[in-house]
């Protein structure tokens, strides 16, 4: 069995007493962030900025998922004998796109009201954003029904397959966004937490907005 060592007698260094001795040891530089966290006795177990980091990372993963689909779209369309039959994009998508872009502005408005400590304004614009988001989703369903009425289904041809895949995948993500908006709207949490919550949800929502504009242009111009 291992013998006892000198360090056994040396006490553990206490909680977060400043940063490490950067001049000691071989590597004192870079790192970033390590010195700010004061351990879990500071403000809750998880530092608030981890939520922002987490959302940034999550969006990276979501982006890879959609880019895989997009590259499949590009490859599949240009295949020889691809059986690709372009169809007319339902016109309501223009309206839906406008609604979604508008929702990003109302959300930005809501956040600036929040940061200005105007609770009523914040809740008002947050609610408007949520409703616009729900309108967008309803609009997408209407677009599907119009296509179905015109005889264009998921399996009709690769162009329609990709159309349904893109809109469904984006729609699912947007349902998640609406749920997150509702979560914040109905949850009276402590100001600081909500600050992070509104920020994180805004990041997600703006990203989904931008992603939709990209997909819409792809479906429109890349037919």
């Amino acid at each position: 069995m291992p013998s006892s060592t000198v360090t056994d007698e040396i006490e553990l260094v206490g909680t977060g007493k400043g940063g490490g001795g950067s001049s000691f040891g071989d590597d004192g530089n870079s790192g970033g962030g390590g010195d700010e966290w004061k351990g879990p006795s500071g403000s809750g177990r998880v530092p608030q900025r981890a939520y922002v980091t987490g959302m940034t990372i999550a969006l990276g993963g979501v982006l890879m998922f959609f880019m895989a689909l997009v590259s499949a779209y590009i490859v599949r369309k240009d295949m020889p004998n691809s059986a690709w039959v372009p169809f007319n994009i339902p016109r309501i998508l223009w309206l839906n796109t406008a609604i979604l872009i508008a929702s990003s502005f109302t959300l930005a408005r809501s956040r600036s009201r929040f940061l200005a400590d105007d609770d009523a304004g914040f809740r008002h614009w947050w609610g408007v954003t949520t409703i616009l988001g729900i309108f967008f989703l309803i609009g997408q369903v209407i677009a599907w029904r119009q296509l179905a009425a015109a005889g264009v289904f998921l399996a009709t041809n690769p162009a329609s397959s990709f159309f349904y895949v893109f809109t469904a995948a984006h729609g699912l993500h947007l349902i998640g966004g609406v749920l997150a908006l509702l979560y914040v709207a109905f949850r009276p949490t402590h100001r600081l937490t909500k600050g992070t919550a509104t920020e994180v949800v805004s990041m997600y929502w703006h990203f989904m907005d931008g992603l939709w504009v990209f997909l819409f242009l792809l479906l429109l111009l890349g037919r």
Binding site: T5, S41, I57, A72, R76, A83, N157, P158
Partner: protein, 585 residues
């Protein structure tokens, strides 16, 4: 979002009920052990499948009591191949090093109380568990397990029952399982990255992180970027099978005299999506092992890691290059020779950071006071197997040579040495090394050594001859090649490998016995049985619920201060202040 952001002390209380404590726990240590046990179960299943395959290869006509019909059909053999590969790659090599040890030790090694998002962590595990249940269910559904290999190549995997037993419900379950696994791994990766970025203790700069943390961190980034792509492929494949789309299925296919109703899809598209994930995936399996090897080699040589920064940067370089080489799995898919050339050069360039790592491992050992404990033996075995298996990769990386070797046993030998066995050795090294910390007791050294020598020799006996079988034209995934002249000529080699496989498999029982016996009867370990320097060794074994009992460490030095000249003690823990360290002079 956080619901507990009140200021003041956030006391971590251990949940009382059995279910909250051990089943739906949000403690990263419990979740780490859950992942580990999942992988342990999976590896037992995987080994049994592989032994059945080895048996069938040498006794293709034998009557087996548990096989319906008595004699194994080629389809049943293919089902074994598929399930063995899938279970091993996903549920063992991806699960144990990252989900298991990463989950348990990454937060402790950076001085954090838990992962950044403990509930998400629990969700990751349970979704992985569901994925495992789904893949096991494929054994018992009508038609049995799928037959399209761990790579699920289209069109076979996309068409349903017409293409064979197992291609119905079994293949669907395979896709569902893999998609769930992707989802869980994405959530896990997110958690690992956020934790490493935001939860490091004061003073724990990036270049003071143990190399294990570097390994888990870069692995998580690879996972984040790769699993989403496979998930997208899985969704499209599922639609091809069940909704009648034609993403991957070409027109005019006739199967069993039936014309298939698909049009214009591209089987190669699946290969691209799969291997864009698949090559990073092989590094997802091995990078944590590299971290563990560096960590263990340093500890048991009583020397700092040679070229620590170069080691960390090499991990990053391997991760980065790993995304640009997937085409080397597709040299024979009819790609343009120019693309083939580019993929070939990029592939071989991965040899550079790999060689840096190997050189530095040897540099770490050089002149050290080497202690041949079980973890050290397995770390040395890791280096050996990684080099032996990696070198054959350089041959495969040349399109002209690959023309002959692709689809044969040479490839199987390559990836089993470098990925299969090397990563398993990394897992074993980690198990022997951290068992005392996780369970408070030591594993038996004599049994560990016995286990090592049988497994090490066994692995080489199985996979070295396999290279020659490949060079002689032996083709992988053939259930029975004894009917051909060249096939019959290779039987003695197959016989040798099968015997070696059974002996090596039996040697794993020594490990299982050692593991479970030591849980109860091993000698009590104490805080720091290996005299190691990183933060997990300053806390109790096993660590308390919040990892450090409320005394969160600050970090004052790099992770590998062994045998520092002028000190009485040959290791200086990362949390010692300069004043405290001065007492050791």
């Amino acid at each position: 979002m956080s619901s507990h952001a009140q200021t003041g002390h956030a006391v971590v209380v251990e949940p009382s009920g059995f279910i909250r404590k051990y089943i739906f726990s949000i403690d990263h240590k419990v979740i780490g052990i859950q992942y580990f046990l999942l992988a342990l179960t999976a590896v037992c299943v995987g080994i049994v499948l592989s032994l059945l395959m080895r048996f069938h290869l040498v006794y293709p006509g034998a009557h087996l009591p548990f096989v319906s019909g008595g004699i194994m059909t080629p389809e049943q053999y293919m089902a074994l191949v598929t399930m063995h590969g899938t279970i091993m790659v996903f549920f063992v090599l991806t699960t144990a090093p990252q989900g298991g040890f990463g989950n348990y030790f990454l937060p402790i090694q950076i001085g954090a109380p838990d992962m950044a998002f403990p509930r998400l962590n629990m969700l990751s595990f349970w979704v992985t568990f569901l994925a495992f249940v789904a893949i096991l269910a494929a054994f018992v559904v009508p038609g049995g397990a799928p037959i399209s290999g761990w790579t699920g190549y289209t069109p076979l995997s996309g068409m349903g029952e017409v293409t064979g037993p197992g291609e119905g419900m079994g293949q669907t379950l395979w896709i569902v399982s893999i998609s769930l696994f992707c989802l869980a791994s994405l959530l896990g990766a997110l958690n690992f990255i956020a934790t490493t970025i935001d939860l490091r203790a004061p003073g724990m700069t990036l270049f003071r992180m143990p190399l294990t943390v570097w390994g888990w961190f870069v692995t998580a980034i690879l996972g984040l970027l790769a699993f989403g792509v496979l998930l997208a492929g899985g969704v499209l494949l599922l639609l091809d099978r069940s909704a009648g789309t034609s993403f991957f299925l070409p027109a005019g296919m006739v199967v069993n005299d039936q014309l298939q109703p698909h049009s214009g899809g591209s089987p190669l598209l699946w290969q691209h999506l799969f291997w864009f994930f698949g090559h990073p995936e092989v590094y997802i399996a091995i990078l944590p092992g590299m971290g563990v090897a560096s960590h263990v080699l340093s500890t048991f040589s009583r020397k700092p890691v040679y070229g620590y920064r170069a080691m960390a940067m090499a991990i990053c370089a391997i991760g980065f290059l790993g995304f640009m080489v997937w085409g080397h799995h597709m040299f024979l898919s009819g790609m343009s020779p120019y693309s083939g050339f580019a993929f070939s050069v990029l592939t071989m360039s991965i040899g550079v950071p790999s060689a840096i790592k190997t050189f530095n491992w040897i540099g770490t050992l050089w002149g050290g006071k080497i202690q041949f404990k079980s973890p050290m033996l397995f770390a040395l075995g890791f280096v050996s197997l990684f080099v032996s298996g990696g070198l054959s990769g350089l041959f495969l990386a040349q399109p002209a040579v690959d023309n002959m070797l692709h689809g044969g046993y040479y490839v199987v030998a390559h990836f089993h040495l470098v990925m299969g066995v090397a990563a398993i050795f990394g897992i074993f090294a980690a198990t022997y090394f951290w068992f005392p910390k996780m369970f408070g007791r030591m594993m038996s050294e004599p049994l560990g050594k016995l286990h090592f020598w049988f497994t090490f020799a066994g692995a080489y006996c199985i996979f070295m001859p396999m290279h020659f079988v490949g060079l002689a034209g032996g083709i992988r995934r053939y259930a029975d090649a004894t009917g051909t002249n060249y096939g019959a000529a290779l039987q003695p080699a197959h016989m040798f490998m099968t015997y070696a496989a059974f002996i090596t498999g039996a040697a794993q029982l020594v490990f299982l016995f050692n593991f479970f016996w030591s849980l109860k009867h091993g000698p009590v370990a104490g805080k720091n049985p290996w005299n190691a320097t990183t933060l997990e060794w300053i806390t109790d074994s096993p660590p308390p619920i919040d990892n450090f009992g409320g005394h969160y460490p600050s970090v004052y030095r790099g992770p590998y201060e062994f045998s520092v000249p002028g000190y009485r003690q040959d290791f200086i823990p990362q949390n010692l202040t300069p004043d405290q360290a001065a007492l050791l002079k």
